[in-house]
Amino acid sequence: MTHRNDRVLSVAELARVEGEGALYIRASGNKVEEARLDIYEPPRFFEAFLRGRAYTEPPDITARICGICPVAYQTSAYLAIEEACGVTVDGPIADLRRLLYCGEWIESHSLHIYLLHAPDFLGYSSGIEMATERRDIVERGLGMKKAGNAILEAVGGRAIHPINVRIGGFYRAPSRAELAALTDPLRRALEDALATVRWVAGFDFPDHMCEADMLALSAPGTYPIERGTVATRSGLAFPASAWEDHVIEEHVPHSTALHAHLAGGGRYLTGPLARYSLSSQWLSPLAREAASDAGLGPSCDNPFRSIIVRAVEVVYAIEEALRIIAAYEPPDRPAVDVPPRAGVGCGASEAPRGTLWHRYEIGADGIISAARIVPPTSQNQATIEADLRAFVEARIDLEDDELTRQCEQAIRNYDPCISCATHFLNLTVQRSLPVRTDGGPSSSYVRAGRGHRRRERVPP
């Protein structure tokens, strides 16, 4: 005979995630009944804030949505507005844009790999603890991140919320000498990035597969960063302007973020795994070789291995940056003219965390009448929930502490930028399990906030 024993494990402050939110998991016996990721999404505020503003403003305004990926917001914004105005930007200005974006990838991925994700695999409670014991390793990651910062400073004007980006290009184009000064640090960073791939490839990875379609930009001939059409692993291919025909967003009660799915009903994953699985053939030979040596095939479905994919993408981004810098000739003018015209434009780019899509409606006077922003984390939300559900079910027998730790790690696989402007993530696991039959007490564990725990007796 068994009774029911309700246990609630609540861990506040899932640190090392950029944002805030809450994960709630409810299990009954060996089955997870519910996995719910509550997130609070600032782009909705910015969509309202952008209405009535000049068409020249979104790159500066939307850059403030996220301190980690401002270039992604700027890029998707100027692409959308330039499309609405019928302007295409190419040549050295386009190269500079890709270079700037490479800087963001290097910076964001290095931060995630070294301070957020690697500690999970190595048994450290945080990147700080890892820094105490493995200072050399952490210094290597920070050195790579600094090389990315330097690109943002040289091209974007400063490392956070770059101020040199405008519709049509830049306010000022860097000189050849300014970019050449980045070369030696980037060469050192490339060696460190290759060492990083070898390092993370040696981690132990749980056997786990994400069951979802994958969506990323595709730009045959090159790995997608700041341009491309939208593609899915299931075979869809469409321009950013057709996004709303294929990607459906719905409100869910537990979140201010909208849940995205494909028009056919399927949930999908965007981000490094999707990019890699759709475009690994377009990586540079060195990055492909590093991926292969690290045990990656042409695609990757295990979210835990995303740390390897991020490391490979850092290799690629550094190589791309070096290639662009070596070939750079300053443009005659830092920006092309983009006169306003009435219209609708859509733009998409590959933020470090996945595809970021913008849409703007502009009047003939250049005033924005509508704005829509779909960030990668809200696209991934349903997939993260489904993935957590499967992940927990396979590990339901683990003790609460270990299950919680593994759930935290599983969430960090996705590097969710849950708010881009908020505080922390709460994780709650509630489960019903058979109680002891030896006459011992039934117990409820309640942990509210890190380091605080109490045990309560509950009736059977």
Binding site: E13, R16, E18, S126, G127, A131, V138, C420, T422
Partner: protein, 157 residues
């Protein structure tokens, strides 16, 4: 140097940048003013090698007293590990811990913190917090030996 931590689009989280904005014409030449989102490695990079670093940030406290000003001379991370009222999950405590681990603390670190009342989305400080801006700016000028800025003023948003 003076580092304002916060997000101007999260109401009172913008108090750090607001203080730095007020100091812009008041600090002596050579005093560097920085605004950052509080990401620890950026904070650490900003203060590495500085003889004196002054950080201004928004905080929560319990029980709350919005607008209350705190000043700490810091040589170790706090013990509470409560997240700061800044834009990201990694905050000032993480920056201090990381800097200690990597030998990258400034010669002296002073933190001025202002209790936030409103951290929802939107621009502009609440009046209570805005009223603290001038006081904090004045205290920072005292810290760096530059006298007072005159009557406190701030945009109440």
């Amino acid at each position: 140097m003076v580092i304002g931590v916060g997000n101007e689009f999260r109401r009172d989280d913008g108090v750090g940048p607001a203080v730095v904005g007020q100091l812009r014409d008041l600090v002596p030449p050579g005093v560097r003013l920085v605004i950052t989102d509080g990401e620890p490695t950026r904070l650490m990079d900003a203060w590495t090698g500085a003889a004196l670093a002054i950080v201004v940030d928004a905080v929560h406290a319990h029980p709350p007293q919005p607008g209350k000003i705190y000043r700490f001379v810091v040589d170790r991370p706090g013990t509470g590990q409560e997240p700061a009222a800044s834009s990201h999950g990694l905050g000032l405590d993480d920056a201090i811990s990381l800097a200690i681990a990597l030998d990258r603390m400034p010669g002296r670190l002073i933190v001025h913190a202002v209790e936030a009342a409103d951290l929802t989305h939107g621009a502009g400080l609440t009046p209570t917090v805005a009223a603290a801006v001038g006081t904090v700016a004045s205290a920072i000028l005292d810290d760096i030996g530059a006298g007072r800025p005159g009557p406190a003023s701030a945009d109440p948003g």
